[in-house]
């Protein structure tokens, strides 16, 4: 049962084939068995999960028919959960028991989903391999010598290994889509503003967006039905009606115009990945879509612009970690400056410190114009590139990552790591919706296909992804977890 999609579990629960308590117990057992290998969870909430499952079963008996009622999920440890430790993968918050719930957490709770625990992540969501976590790296269930991608690596590995039915993640430059690609699951980043950021620990405020990691596009639609919507607690949350994302999943793709970005099929792209994507595009042609090459001429500047905007915003967002009101404080500070410097140097890991330094530099006197303002201008160029492309096509499809999951410790140089997000990062700068779905395997490792939609075109992207999953079974492939020990 645990390998099923959330949609399938939803109907099994509705039919009474299984209770939420039974299902929750099954996941908890699997977590107990495999988490030591994967390190996907930082916190497992056994007791409260079973209690929530019990409540879900009672609600169902009382006539509640909410689609995700009793379905077990995991939250990335970036979402504040009242009464449960919320670490953001950092020593800085290793002891932080959040006194309130993120809106996303609140909404899943109201929908009756069962929270199994909190998943591991790159520290403050800064990383593309899940190696920067204070709680140790997460391992890829397809090959535990390899990384699951990052920063939502714990959520991706947990979904891929059936340690939960579905999970939440956040995506600032690719942090949902790239781990989804590496772990062979579906990962969806909605348009900026579609999902509330209240209670989601900030990395880069103008780029961060929460979204689902799931076993299918249909599951992502079910999750989006819960997550999306206006939240008055977040000024950047958009006041647009929420569609029923499941309603249009089966719409025909006849006449769909797919844009193939020239720049995403250039040097650096692995041959097997390229082949898998080209094969997938043929599937779409069979479904009645037409392909058209499009240009994203400024795409190559997206990583540069991103590594100004994101660190600059992060440098300010992370100033609150000062050892005064919560979180880590160094031992016996001799004076105020010592408290600040040692608390922050001991509380943050190397990558986080590096980005704070870069952001501080980019904003400092004399450099603001050359860096921050320049990056904002590039940001507009990148958005315009997408707008121009969308004048001609409905969706842009390419690879999520140039290659499949790499080995732990393989990329020690930050710049090399940053270039991992070359295909995904522009989407965050432009605030557009993007999804990664499984589209093949190379040497037993999953390949992700990346689709970018128009502003608030969530429903269409999910429809396009779902139609592919009706024709193929890549999203049904499972890692052979546990066989190696």
């Amino acid at each position: 049962m645990i390998e099923k999609t959330a949609a399938e579990l939803s109907s099994a629960l509705a039919k009474g084939d299984i209770s939420s308590v039974e299902l929750t117990r099954a996941y908890l057992e699997r977590i107990a068995r495999y988490n030591y290998q994967l390190n996907a969870f930082i916190t497992v909430c056994e007791e409260s999960a079973l209690k929530q499952a019990q409540t879900a079963d009672e609600k169902r008996a009382a006539g509640d028919r909410s689609p995700l009622l009793g379905v077990p999920l995991a939250h990335k440890d970036i979402f504040c959960t009242q009464g449960v430790t919320t670490t953001c993968g950092s020593r800085m918050l290793h002891n932080f028991v959040a006194p309130y719930n993120a809106t996303v957490v609140e909404k899943f709770s109201a929908a009756g989903a069962v929270m199994l625990g909190k998943t591991n992540m790159d520290e403050f969501a800064m990383g593309s391999s899940n190696e920067t976590s204070f709680f140790g790296p997460v391992r890829n269930p397809w090959d535990t010598k390899r990384v699951p991608g990052g920063s939502s690596g714990g959520s991706a590995a947990a979904v891929a290994a059936d340690l939960c039915a579905m999970a939440t993640g956040t995506d600032t430059g690719g942090s949902i889509r790239q781990p989804a690609a590496f772990c062979g699951i579906t990962g969806f980043k909605p348009s900026y503003g579609r999902v509330s950021r209240w209670g989601m620990i900030a990395f880069a405020s103008s780029l961060d967006q929460a979204g689902p990691l799931s076993k299918s596009a249909e599951d992502a639609a079910l999750m989006m039905n819960v997550m999306a919507g206006l939240d008055n607690k977040d000024s950047t949350s958009i006041d647009l009606p929420v569609e029923d994302y499941t309603a249009t999943l089966n719409d025909s793709l006849q006449g769909l115009k797919i844009g193939i970005p020239r720049q995403h099929f250039a040097a650096g792209l692995g041959a097997e990945v390229e082949q898998a994507i080209r094969d997938a595009l043929k599937e779409y042609e069979k479904l009645g879509a037409t392909l058209k090459e499009v240009d994203l001429p400024n795409n190559h500047l997206s990583v540069s612009a991103y590594y100004v905007v994101a660190p600059a915003e992060a440098s300010a967002n992370l100033s609150r970690y000062d050892g005064v009101r919560y979180g880590y404080r160094c031992e016996n500070p001799v004076d105020l400056e010592d408290m600040y410097k040692r608390t922050r140097s001991e509380g943050f890991g190397d990558e986080v410190k590096r980005r704070i330094m870069v952001g501080t530099y980019a904003l400092s006197a004399g450099y603001y114009e050359a860096y921050y303002r320049k990056a904002q201008k590039i940001r507009r160029l990148i958005k315009q590139d997408f707008n121009n492309a969308f004048d001609e096509v409905d969706v842009i499809i390419g690879p999520t990552s140039p290659h499949t999951a790499f080995e732990l410790g393989a990329k020690t140089d930050p710049v090399t790591m940053y270039l991992e997000d070359i295909y995904t990062i522009a989407v965050n700068l432009a605030g557009l919706p993007g999804i990664s779905i499984p589209a093949g395997l190379a040497q037993g490792l999953p390949i992700g296909m990346h689709m970018v939609g128009k502003d608030f075109g969530e429903a269409q992207i999910l429809n396009i992804a779902h139609q592919f999953q009706q024709q193929t079974d890549w999203h049904r492939r499972k890692p052979a977890l546990g066989q190696e020990g």
Partner: protein, 95 residues
Amino acid sequence: MALDKSEVEKIAHLARLHISAAEADEVTSRITDILALIDQMQSVDTDAVEPLAHPLEVVQRLRADEVTEENRRDELQTLAPEAQDGLYLVPQVLE
């Protein structure tokens, strides 16, 4: 743009980070690499381009002036490394 160690020290101080002598070289060279990546931006002319601060070009919502929060001091101060008599304690602030 290459950084020298004194600039790194200055930035570290602004960001209230301590960089030990042992780390200084490595940190300096890493940040120099990142700045080289960033400097690729300079290859494009953006004189005529308006900066984009935010992907959402919409406007701020306003909140009615109402008190919606209750006093939760005692609960919230359990999170603090050091608190006494309702105050958060820190090493002496010199003014």
